[in-house]
Symmetry: C2
Subunit: 382 residues, 2 copies
Amino acid sequence: MIPGPTNVHLKALEAMQRPLTDHRGPKFEELYAELLENLKYFFQTRKWDVIPFTASGTGAVECIISNAINPGDKVLVPLYGNFTNRIKEIVEIYYGKVVTIKIPEREAVTASQIEEVLKNEKVKMIFVVFNETSTGVKVRDLREIAKIAHDHGALIAVDAVSGLGGDDLPVEDWDIDLCASASQKCLAAPPGICMVSVSDRAWEVINSMKARSYYFDLKLYKRFFVERRQTPFTPAIPIFYAVNEALKVLREEGIENRIRRHKVCAEAFYAAMEAIGLSCYAKKEFRSNTTIAVEVPRSLKDSDIRRIMREKYGVHIAGGMADLRGKIIRIGSMGMVNRRIVMRTINALECTLKELGWNLRVGSGVEAALEVFSKYSGVQLL
Amino acid sequence: MIPGPTNVHLKALEAMQRPLTDHRGPKFEELYAELLENLKYFFQTRKWDVIPFTASGTGAVECIISNAINPGDKVLVPLYGNFTNRIKEIVEIYYGKVVTIKIPEREAVTASQIEEVLKNEKVKMIFVVFNETSTGVKVRDLREIAKIAHDHGALIAVDAVSGLGGDDLPVEDWDIDLCASASQKCLAAPPGICMVSVSDRAWEVINSMKARSYYFDLKLYKRFFVERRQTPFTPAIPIFYAVNEALKVLREEGIENRIRRHKVCAEAFYAAMEAIGLSCYAKKEFRSNTTIAVEVPRSLKDSDIRRIMREKYGVHIAGGMADLRGKIIRIGSMGMVNRRIVMRTINALECTLKELGWNLRVGSGVEAALEVFSKYSGVQLL
């Protein structure tokens, strides 16, 4: 129950047992073509390219920057957590000029904040984190922000590593030029592969540029696929197998159903936290659909909560990152998450808090979650 | 039998079935620390760091350049195949100045060729490909070249992706500052992880530099390991499991035994090719220990040879790359390679050539290989 890597679907796990195939042979070419089609479904695009490669989600973010940003190019990066800060750092490594907006704590950027900045600044790209895993906040106005970007002649790039598949983000419909995601979050596949989707508008920019990295060169990936249905470099083949299986599972469930399932589970978690008496870190209107960030009560230590949950109940949750270390705990509600898993986690948390002397009525959280689930009894929950 | 990915050891394959672990939790920390120790054995170093991360071998090569080369820095890159050309391209992407030596066809660079250039050129780094997979040549004078580099105040960097573990390359003993390798070659693990070893001399250079990539930043990997025994980014956990198992298998066999096994198998292949009447592409003194490159007879087509071997005998071999496309076939003799596998491959090749009308005595290659194996009857061949 950490915010990724998440539990892997059994079919994806089993797929890694297949004998390796030659990545320059016909079997891999067939797999790769199928994988690319399935990835389009995950990103909800029909026309655009989605390019997978062997790296973590951060690799996908760096890939976007290295392909679309030249030294001196201005990039608007609103700051509201660790992963937004990371984007800023990467843009600076590539000698882009970062324009920032410091977002108040517990919030994500809004369309009006971006509009305000663009009145006085001309930027090449706006790069936002859709779901900020470090704080449990999410951007609500992404569609509007994309429109604002285009009205101002800028590209919109999105780090959707921990959001895609777990919250509404129809990439083509919302006109997101560059979107980064990864295998180990809402897709419920093992880590090792990340992906970048590229709009026609983004290709125009990328095609006009000299490569700034060889490994991350999207033009190279595109060319190798078009000419040979292959990847330019040896891919992590077992993970490719697994991701393709996970995508088939996603297709069977349906992307809308999966997103709805994530919404219901998140709502159940939030209701439980309130009933238990814990405060959610994110402001209500910015609460993430996939990462439940909760404040650690002053009388307790986050490391105790995490250790007892792990050792006594087999439930792994995460602590805070950077400035929030020790101040929050984070529950990943992603991927294979369902009623059973939510209940088990809330129950483990309740028992742990009780053992640590926190004043709660055991069962209150479970009851609140139960109420949420009964409200959505028609929703397919696995 | 392609020159990587190679057949994976069953223990490595099975390891990928384990449930995923939290990469910020104690189980992963233990695995990671053990993996780093085992990687040192693979690289034959006691004191130096070996840093693994999620990418292909090309990622490791780019990592070296992005960590140690600043714009304008001179790098000597002798050219003798596809992977040497790739290094040149990457150095140029990072605005390094490439000094080249064009090596005659069918050869690899020698110490005296490098010495000659360094008389007139001061370079920051010499970057060579130990085993050039595209042509089946290998560098014989690597130890001497490292010494020459240091005598001239330069770093020696080596792409040993397809050589490490299959040929003599004691990284610390030979004083190789930066050495790149990957999981899917002589280690017999699945692809997805690459590694870079870093000498103290190389750390001095790297530590004085500003990062030029975030994902490839070796300082970050080092800091995360020292402070937390963790990786900075979500690693391809199943591949980490597999690589650690493959390294344990390597330890059991012993690195010297594994190298000897590769040598015997390569010798058997070369003897067979000669007996069959095929010409080896590499000049005798530069022949690779892991990649058997053979010229395609004028009357035959490489694609026919490869297709029949694959379809009728289940043996996959590779064709030539770039300028050598259609002109050579390449057999990978790496990883789990042993008597049985060598014999099966030669037998399949003989039958295929016969079917295609090539004039040979079926069995002549197998017989020649048999003779080699009997010469080394004391060598452990799996």
